[in-house]
Amino acid sequence: MADVIASLPVLSFDTAQRVTEILLALAFLQQSAEHLRAAAKERNLFVFRIALCILLLTGMASLWATAGLALLGLLILHRFQGPYNGGSDRMGLLILFCLCLSHAAPSQIWREVALGYLALQLMLSYFISGWVKIVNPDWRSGRALRDVFEFSAYPVCENFRSIATHPRIVFAGSWAVMLFELVFPTTLLHPVALIAGLSIAALFHLANAILFGLNRFFWIWLAAYPSIFWFQQRVFL
């Protein structure tokens, strides 16, 4: 086990921060491009965001780029009176504010606290989601996931609704999701477990993107992954 850990590349704070910036900028560019077909007032906000994302990608003024994006994020929240795309927008803002603080903090320890908070929230995003499901009898019986496919607004085509008619599949799917989300924090104990856990998590987000059209969740959650790799090496290894 020690050999496996020793063979893994060390992810420094600076590298984790920079890779997070790049992934966030790319995720924001994807989101922003989808708003270019909107009316002028909405489009202008996202044209400005595209410019700030390009600045962030260059890495030349990361503090100002993240601060500008955070301010713009607030304006966008006001424009839509809340998130446009629910949890994915909130995760994007969380990453953004943590990155901004990781640049602006007065000392290295506070910079690390900012990125560590992001890693902690990423871990909680899975664990709490699993917890709130497993305490619900409808999730334990498979009924809740059946309802998602049967009548929620999420399935992207009518054929996917037929999954609701397969009780064994929705029951197995419900328990697979709940158990994975609940055990996710234990993957922090070993680097190989974390790689496996995040790979499964990415596949989970990919499935949600395909079945429910939640493409923004897929890209934005990936952007938070570098922080948890760094956090594991910083705290657990």
């Binding site: 989808e34 929240l77 006001h78 949890g87 995003s125 709130v132 992207v156």
Partner: protein, 143 residues
């Protein structure tokens, strides 16, 4: 300032309660009208706004990973519908009306429309549909 804090707080201290309860789900339906008061005596011709396709090819599903503006806008309008039912605001109503209007052909013979919200829920093993909101009439050109 307080409004900004209320908007940003759920992002900085997230609840992460995804799909904790599967509640009734709103659908937006639209009816076009030749005259502004056509539906005053009874609604006819209601159609689901942006009905989902029967199926999608694997190519289309993969393309939507990178480019999915219409679906994401539809999800936003579902959020607006949920907000409207929870606490009606002019913002939610205007967002739904203006985005419906943007997708309607202004040259058609019916220059007005209304939208309504239909709540779909499960009662026992059966699905129930209930009309819970009917909008005022809107002009297709003005939204």
């Amino acid at each position: 300032m307080l409004k900004s804090l209320a908007l940003i707080a759920p992002a900085l201290i997230p609840s992460w309660r995804f799909f904790d309860r599967i509640t009734a789900s709103p659908r937006i339906e639209v009816a076009r009208m030749a005259q502004e008061d056509d539906l005053a005596t009874g609604a006819t011709g209601w159609r689901e706004f942006r009905p989902r396709p029967q199926s999608l090819s694997l190519t289309a599903l993969l393309r939507r990973l990178f480019w999915n503006p219409v679906w994401n806008e539809t999800l936003f309008l579902t959020s607006c519908a949920e907000r409207l039912l929870e606490k009606p605001t002019a913002h939610s109503i205007d967002e739904i009306a203006s985005r419906i209007a943007a997708g309607l052909d202004p040259r058609a013979a019916e220059p007005f429309f209304r939208f309504r919200l239909v709540l779909i829920s499960r009662e026992g093993d059966a699905l129930q549909k209930e009309v819970v909101y009917v909008s005022s009439p809107y002009s297709v050109t003005k939204g």
